[in-house]
């Protein structure tokens, strides 16, 4: 592209959600009407109800317009949006001043939506690689200590302290170790990993290299779910560039240290997000869960000590290295330190990504950020933490988002995905789906999970059909108990959580009248 430096720059995201709402068509429309515009394909700011949201650079800063459809391009140009004109109906003002964005605490997502994700020059200009440069001057133990001090806990769901995991791998004697990034992001309502990979892939790459330096590993794999074709494309572009610039490869930034990185695709199995199943899959096997111990940190990929960390855990590390563990752990509350990218999904007016320090309440997220339901009907429940997470009623929405506080109400923060439902939801139907999902996605290794979930669907059907109600309610409770105590991993062990939370907080939905109503609706959901 040979645009003169004073041709205007317009940002149009190439994030999956922006694309899913027509961002490519907007870009080609703009290009065909005004070919001299410099179009940058950035990540998304995460204000998804405004996508495709386009931005133009002005002397005052970037000005946003959205949601823009291809047919809006002509009127935008006519209104002189290239100068940041405020008279167009899609005008949103200075991007950074949009309250949804201005009220966040963006740390891990600081660059997402701002930069061209595959431009290393952009990455450097916005503070990228400072953490890696610093890490290259430190001993492995110092890097691990820094991560420990930050208080960072795994963002993939289990909230295990990242520094302790790294210490175990550092201590494990072996001359071959691996860094594996868990980019399987299978939970419904979650898209933070995807957004980070699509919007700032070098941040993940940098985090993985630092992890490699910390424990003495020279090979990394990103295990990416097949359902994310855009992330796959962007990661591969970024890795190729990082290799050509000696950020990846045999001589990381001229240090003489090696780190190589590959993306590997999953193949549509939810259980492969579980770390041992993921390792089996990477090795080329069925994704069957391994018994622990031994921990992957000691016997991991190909039998070698391996760090398995979530995308956001790894992408949090460059900032911790660059700006220090203290500043990171100043965010948060109790033993939940730092920030978490919450994801607002489902029936919500202003769905998107909200990065905040731990301690905010669900109510703040659902109302102040989310703006209530998209349907306009009253919100009735939210499921938090993916398909194995609890359904919470309104009186619990004041609970501060912190791992321990959520544990106390029988729920989990998980990966920070929040799915809102309006009052048309039927919780017996949702409970039934949780069991059904478990039958579809169980790895099959243990009976309580594999068979128990099939029986769970049947028992819920009998309850809602009012067949021997009391006996079946008791049976369901026992079945859940067996799944909790007899399952090898959290797939079988946590499937009862959505079920029992639905039963506990919304018993009226399991009553005969509701049941008769819902079982006829369930017929369409049989085949999967």
């Amino acid at each position: 592209m040979n645009h003169s430096s004073n041709s205007p720059t317009v940002y149009i995201p190439r994030d999956t959600t922006a694309l899913s709402l027509g961002a490519d068509k907007v870009a080609s429309q703009l290009h065909s009407q005004q070919p001299d515009i410099n179009i940058v394909r950035n990540g998304s700011r995460g204000l998804f109800w405004l996508e495709p949201m386009i931005e133009v650079t002005t002397p005052l800063g970037r000005v946003a317009y959205g949601p823009v459809q291809p047919e809006d391009v002509a009127s935008l140009l006519a209104n002189d949006f290239l100068q940041g004109d405020s008279s167009h109906p899609l005008y949103l003002g200075l991007t950074e001043e949009i309250p949804y964005l201005a009220q966040q605490q963006r740390v891990t997502f600081a660059r997402v939506g701002i930069t061209n994700p595959v431009s290393l020059a952009d990455y450097r200009a916005y503070g990228g690689l400072v953490g890696l440069q610093k890490a290259l001057t430190l001993t492995p133990q110092t890097i691990v200590d820094e991560v420990k001090t930050s208080g960072l806990r795994g963002r993939g769901g289990a909230a295990f302290p990242t520094g302790i995991k790294w210490q175990t791998v550092l201590n494990a004697p072996s001359n071959k170790k691996y860094i594996v990034c868990n980019a399987d992001e299978g939970d419904s309502g979650t898209f933070a990993d995807r957004m980070l990979m699509e919007g700032d892939p070098y941040c993940l790459i940098e985090g993985m290299i630092i992890a490699g330096l910390a424990v003495g590993a020279d090979q990394g794999y990103i295990y990416l779910r097949e359902e994310y074709p855009v992330a796959h494309q962007i990661l591969n572009e970024a890795i190729a560039t990082a290799e050509s610039e000696n950020i990846l490869g045999d001589n990381v930034l001229g240090s003489g240290k090696a780190f190589n990185l590959q993306v590997r695709l999953g193949a549509g199995a939810y259980i492969c997000g579980e770390e041992t199943s993921l390792l089996e899959s990477l090795e080329g096997k069925r994704g069957m869960v391994r018994a622990k111990p031994p921990l992957p940190a000691i016997v991991g990929l190909f039998g070698q000590p391996t760090i398995v960390n979530n995308v956001i855990s790894l992408a949090s590390v460059p900032d911790i290295m660059a700006n220090g563990a203290e500043q990171y752990q100043e965010f948060g509350t109790g033993r939940s330190r730092g920030t978490l990218p919450f994801q607002l999904a489902g029936n919500i007016k202003q769905g998107g990504l909200v990065e905040l320090a731990f301690g905010a309440t669900l109510k703040t997220l659902l109302e102040d950020f989310g703006g209530g339901t998209r349907s306009g009907k009253p919100m009735r429940t939210v499921q938090i933490g993916g398909p194995l997470g609890a359904y919470l009623p309104e009186h619990l929405w004041d609970t501060p988002l912190d791992y321990e506080a959520f544990l106390a109400i029988g729920a989990g923060v998980g990966h920070g995905g929040i799915v809102a439902f309006d009052n048309s939801v039927n919780l017996s139907q949702q409970a039934r789906f949780s069991m059904e999902f478990c039958t579809i996605e169980s790895c099959g290794k243990c009976t309580p999970c594999r068979i128990g979930s099939t029986r769970g669907v049947e028992v819920i059907d009998r309850i809602t059909n009012n067949e021997q109600r009391e006996e079946n309610l008791e049976l369901l409770e026992e079945l859940c108990d067996t799944m909790v105590h007899g399952s090898l991993c959290a797939m079988g062990g946590m499937t009862p959580i959505p079920v029992t939370s639905a039963l506990k907080h919304f018993p009226e939905d399991f009553s005969p009248a509701e049941g008769a109503n819902s079982s006829s609706q369930q017929q369409g959901a049989e085949h999967a």
Binding site: T16, D187, A269, L282, E283, Q343, G346, G352, H527
Partner: protein
């Protein structure tokens, strides 16, 4: 996707895919992905070839193919449409949407339309949950889908197919 019917051509394709990926650590999934990418499915002929070259049993290779929802052992239609069935999409009416789409295409999940154009599959989350319900058409994801939008998507797909044939 080129669907070759010629046996030796097929074997050559598979052999070159195996050769290209064999030296990777954990080469099986990359080989299966590349095979499905090139052929549209993983033909039964590929199983003994992969098994032999990776020193696995045929049962092991078959076991891996059948474990993963994404891999298929028989050809799909010219296009694959996945409907998200997960919770966020449910909250925005995906159950009704999937019923209507099945009726419109006259197929159930895992089936292909009579004209061979569209194979319908379920999927559990496309990461587009803030704009549910979502579907994926080949590698394109669409958000806030309703029947109106779906009709337009199908029209566009099938028009392109007709234009290519002309």
């Amino acid at each position: 996707m080129t669907q070759t019917s010629n046996g030796s051509e097929l074997a050559a394709t598979i052999n070159s895919i195996i050769a290209e990926h064999k030296t990777l650590e954990g080469p099986l999934l990359p080989i299966l992905h590349a095979s499905q990418q090139a052929l549209g499915y993983i033909p039964s002929e590929a199983v003994p070839m992969i098994a032999e070259q990776l020193q696995l049993t045929k049962a092991e290779v078959h076991g891996v193919i059948s474990f993963y929802h994404f891999f298929r052992s028989s050809p799909a239609g010219n296009n694959t449409i996945q409907i998200c069935r997960a919770e966020s999409c449910q909250s925005m009416g995906s159950r009704e949407l999937e019923a209507e789409i099945k009726q419109r295409l006259k197929v159930d999940y895992h089936q292909t339309t009579a004209d061979g154009e569209i194979t319908l599959e379920p999927v559990y989350c496309l990461g587009n949950c803030a704009c549910s319900p979502a579907i994926r058409v080949n590698d394109d994801i669409h958000g806030r889908v309703d029947m109106n939008k779906f009709e337009n998507i199908v029209d566009e797909l099938l028009t392109v197919a007709v234009e290519l044939k002309l």
